[in-house]
C-alpha cells in the first residue's frame, strides 16, 4: 500500500485492488481502493472527485490517478490503519495522536474518530498526573477538542491550582489555554460550593449516610463540624476531594477530640465512612457533570 523513495518503517499491510494513489506532502505514496476512502470520508470523497475531474495528468506507478494531500506520510499511514481492516496504529506521542485526530476531523471521518479515541484510551488511559494533564489540555485547546479538554481539565482539578503550585509548569500551557482553564475552574468551584452547601442540609442524603453518628462537635445541622469544614474546603479547592484528605480531616478531628470519649467519631464504623464518601462522591461528580462546556 505504501511506496516511496524512502519508505516509512513499520509498513504493516499491502492492500490489493488499489485504484488510487494518495500522496503525502513528503512524497509517500499510498495505493488504496478508492471505495474505502470515500465511504469513510465525505470530505476526501469530494477532494478526490475534484482532483480526478477532469482526469489528472499526475499518475503514479501503474498509471493510477494521484491525489495530493497536505498531511505527512506518517500521519496518513496511521489514519489509513483506522480505515482499512488492519491493526490500527496510534502515533507514539500525544502531540501526534492529537494531530491524527484533527486530521480525521478535517476529513469528516466520524467513525474513524471514534475508533481513534477508543484506541488512544486503550493505549494511553487518561492520566491523573499533573504534567500529562496540563499537556493534554493544552493540545486539546490547540486543536479544539472539547472532549479531551474536559477530560484533561477534570484531571487537573485533582491537583492544587494556584500560581505558587504551578510555578514550574506555567510554561506548559499558553496564556489563552490557561485563561480558559481558569474560567472552567472558577465555574466548577462555584457550582461545587453551591451543591455542597445543599448537601449539608438535613434534608439531603448525608443525614441517612451518617446514620446514628453523634459527634460531640456537631454543628447546628447535626452534621459533624469537621465534616462540614472538610466539605466547605472542597468548594474552595476541588483537589481536596479525595479519600486521603477525607481521612486526614477525620484523623485531625479524632486527635483534637482525643480525650473526649463521648465523641462517636472516635469509633466511627467503616460502613459509615463508605456511606459518607459515596454520598459525597455522588454530589461532586454531579457538580462536575454540570460544568461540561469548555470553550475550545
Amino acid at each position: 500500500m505504501l511506496t516511496s523513495d524512502q519508505p516509512l518503517e513499520n509498513i504493516l499491510f499491502e492492500y490489493h485492488g488499489a485504484d488510487l494513489i494518495l500522496r503525502s506532502h513528503d512524497s509517500h505514496h499510498f495505493r488504496v481502493p478508492r471505495s474505502y476512502i470515500t465511504n469513510s470520508s465525505p470530505a476526501l470523497d469530494e477532494l478526490i472527485q475534484k482532483a480526478l475531474d477532469p482526469p489528472n495528468d499526475a499518475c503514479g506507478d501503474a498509471s493510477l490517478p494521484v491525489v495530493q494531500l497536505p498531511e505527512s506520510g506518517a500521519i496518513l499511514h496511521s489514519l489509513l490503519t483506522f480505515v482499512f481492516p488492519v491493526t490500527p496504529i496510534v502515533p507514539p506521542t500525544t502531540e501526534k495522536a492529537m494531530e491524527l485526530l484533527s486530521v480525521a476531523r478535517k476529513y469528516q471521518m466520524v467513525a474513524v474518530m471514534v475508533r481513534i479515541r477508543d484506541r488512544i484510551a486503550q493505549q494511553n488511559p487518561p492520566s491523573t498526573r499533573l504534567d500529562p494533564a496540563l499537556h493534554m489540555y493544552s493540545l486539546a485547546q490547540k486543536y479544539g477538542f472539547r472532549q479531551e479538554a474536559l477530560q484533561a481539565a477534570q484531571a487537573i482539578l485533582k491537583h492544587p491550582v494556584s500560581i505558587a503550585d504551578l510555578e514550574e509548569k506555567l510554561d506548559m500551557m499558553p496564556g489563552t489555554a490557561l485563561h480558559e482553564f481558569w474560567k472552567y475552574y472558577v465555574e466548577v468551584r462555584a457550582i461545587l460550593a453551591s451543591d455542597l452547601e445543599q448537601f449539608m442540609t438535613p434534608a439531603s442524603d448525608i443525614s441517612s449516610a451518617l446514620g446514628s453518628l453523634r459527634c460531640s462537635a456537631s454543628g447546628s445541622s447535626q452534621i459533624p463540624r469537621w465534616f462540614c469544614n472538610y466539605i466547605t474546603s472542597i468548594g474552595n479547592a476541588p483537589h481536596l476531594f479525595n479519600l486521603v484528605e477525607f481521612n486526614m480531616a477525620l484523623a485531625r478531628h479524632m486527635r483534637d477530640e482525643g480525650n473526649n470519649y463521648g465523641c462517636a467519631c472516635v469509633s466511627i464504623s467503616s460502613q459509615i465512612i463508605v456511606n459518607i464518601w459515596e454520598s459525597l462522591a455522588s454530589v461532586v461528580h454531579g457538580s462536575l457533570k454540570k460544568v461540561s462546556v469548555i470553550e475550545v
Partner: protein, 316 residues
C-alpha cells in the same frame, strides 16, 4: 483634496476599501499639518493609509529601510502618485506616531502605554535606535503614558512578546507591588505566551528571597541561626525565623504570590514571624515570641532593600 495638500507630509487618505473600514475600530488619525513638497516615498499602513516621507530621512533613522531602499525595486512594484510605495504591517495610528518623530514637527503622542510598547516594538523591528531612545526618554520624563495599576501584568506580557527587554524588566518590578494570583490576573492571562508567566513567577520568588536575605544581614540582632529561649523549661535551641520566609517554604511561597513583594511587606512578615510563639523542641509547650525589629521600616533599610530589588533581573 488639493494638490498642495496631496504633497503634504502626513496622512493622505489612501485606498480604504470596505474591509479596512469594517475592521477599523478607531477613526484614522488626524493628518499632520506639515507641507513637504518633495516627498520621495509612500509608506502604507496595514489599514491602507498612505504616509508621504523622504527616502533619505527614513534611511538615515532606520538601517533596515536604508538597506531595503538601496535594493533595486522590482519592475512590478506599486507606484502611487508617481512615488514608490512600501507596504508596512503597522497600522496608521502607530505610523502616525513614528512619522511624527522623523521630522521637526509636533510629536504625536501614543494614547496609552500599550501603544507606546507597540511603537517601541516597531522601532526595534526597523532598527530605529534614536527614535526608540527618544520614546523611552519621553516615558521616563512622564511626557508619554506609563504603566499603571495591575495593567503592569499586561504590560509585562506584551513587552515579553515583543522582546522589549527594558520594558519587561521595568514592568516585572512594578508587578511586585501587586498580588500575582490567577484571581488577580483573570483576563490578563490571555496576554501571556510561552514561558513569560513562569519567568515572572520565578523572578518574584528571587526578589522575595533576596529581600529576606538582605533583612537577615541588615538586622544583626536576629541572624539566620538565632537562639530562642523557652520560658517554660529553660531550653535554648537554634531557631531560624528566616527559614519560614524563604520560598522553599510552601506557605511562604504562597504568600509571595498572594501578597505584594515589597520591602515593607517582607519586613512586616519578618516581624510577625519573630513575634509569633512556637513550640519548644524539648518540652513541647508553647514558647513565646521574640521581640521583633519593630513594626516600622527605617528609611535607610527600606532604601537598601529597594536597591536589592533593583539588582534582581528577569533573566539570570
Amino acid at each position: 483634496m488639493s494638490s498642495q495638500a496631496e504633497s503634504a507630509l502626513s496622512l493622505v487618505q489612501g485606498r480604504e476599501d470596505s474591509q479596512a473600514k469594517a475592521n477599523s475600530i478607531t477613526p484614522p488619525p488626524e493628518p499632520l499639518d506639515i507641507r513637504v513638497p518633495d516627498a520621495s516615498l509612500i509608506i502604507r499602513s496595514s489599514d491602507l493609509v498612505d504616509f508621504r516621507v523622504h527616502k533619505s530621512v527614513l534611511a538615515m533613522v532606520s538601517p533596515v529601510f536604508g538597506d531595503l531602499l538601496s535594493l533595486p525595486q522590482p519592475s512590478d512594484s506599486e507606484i502611487v502618485d508617481g512615488l514608490p510605495m512600501v507596504q508596512l504591517s503597522e497600522d496608521a495610528e502607530l505610523l502616525n506616531t513614528l512619522v511624527s518623530m522623523l521630522y521637526p514637527i509636533r510629536r504625536v503622542m501614543p494614547e496609552s502605554y500599550d501603544k507606546v510598547l507597540y511603537s517601541l516594538a516597531a522601532c526595534q523591528k526597523y532598527d530605529m535606535v534614536q527614535v526608540q531612545s527618544y520614546i523611552r526618554a519621553e516615558v521616563d520624563r512622564g511626557s508619554f503614558p506609563g504603566p499603571v495599576g495591575t495593567e503592569v501584568f499586561r504590560t509585562y506580557a506584551i513587552a515579553c512578546g515583543k522582546g522589549l527587554i527594558p520594558e519587561m524588566e521595568k514592568a516585572a518590578h512594578l508587578t511586585l507591588d501587586h498580588p500575582m494570583t490567577f484571581e488577580t490576573l483573570g483576563e490578563l492571562l490571555r496576554f501571556f505566551d510561552g514561558s513569560a508567566l513562569r519567568d515572572l513567577a520565578r523572578f518574584r520568588m528571587r526578589c522575595r528571597d533576596n529581600l529576606v536575605t538582605c533583612l537577615s544581614t541588615a538586622i544583626p540582632t536576629t541572624g539566620t541561626s538565632s537562639i530562642r529561649y523557652c520560658h517554660n523549661c529553660g531550653d535554648t535551641s537554634p531557631w531560624d525565623p528566616l527559614q519560614q520566609l524563604f520560598s522553599r517554604n510552601d506557605d511562604s511561597k504562597k504568600q509571595g504570590f498572594t501578597n505584594p513583594v515589597t520591602p515593607s511587606q517582607i519586613h512586616g512578615e519578618y516581624s510577625k514571624v519573630l513575634q509569633s510563639p512556637d513550640t519548644c523542641n524539648y518540652c513541647k509547650r508553647t514558647r513565646r515570641g521574640t521581640k521583633g525589629p519593630g513594626s516600622t521600616l527605617s528609611a535607610e533599610l527600606e532604601s537598601k532593600l529597594a536597591q536589592i530589588l533593583d539588582k534582581v533581573h528577569i533573566f539570570l
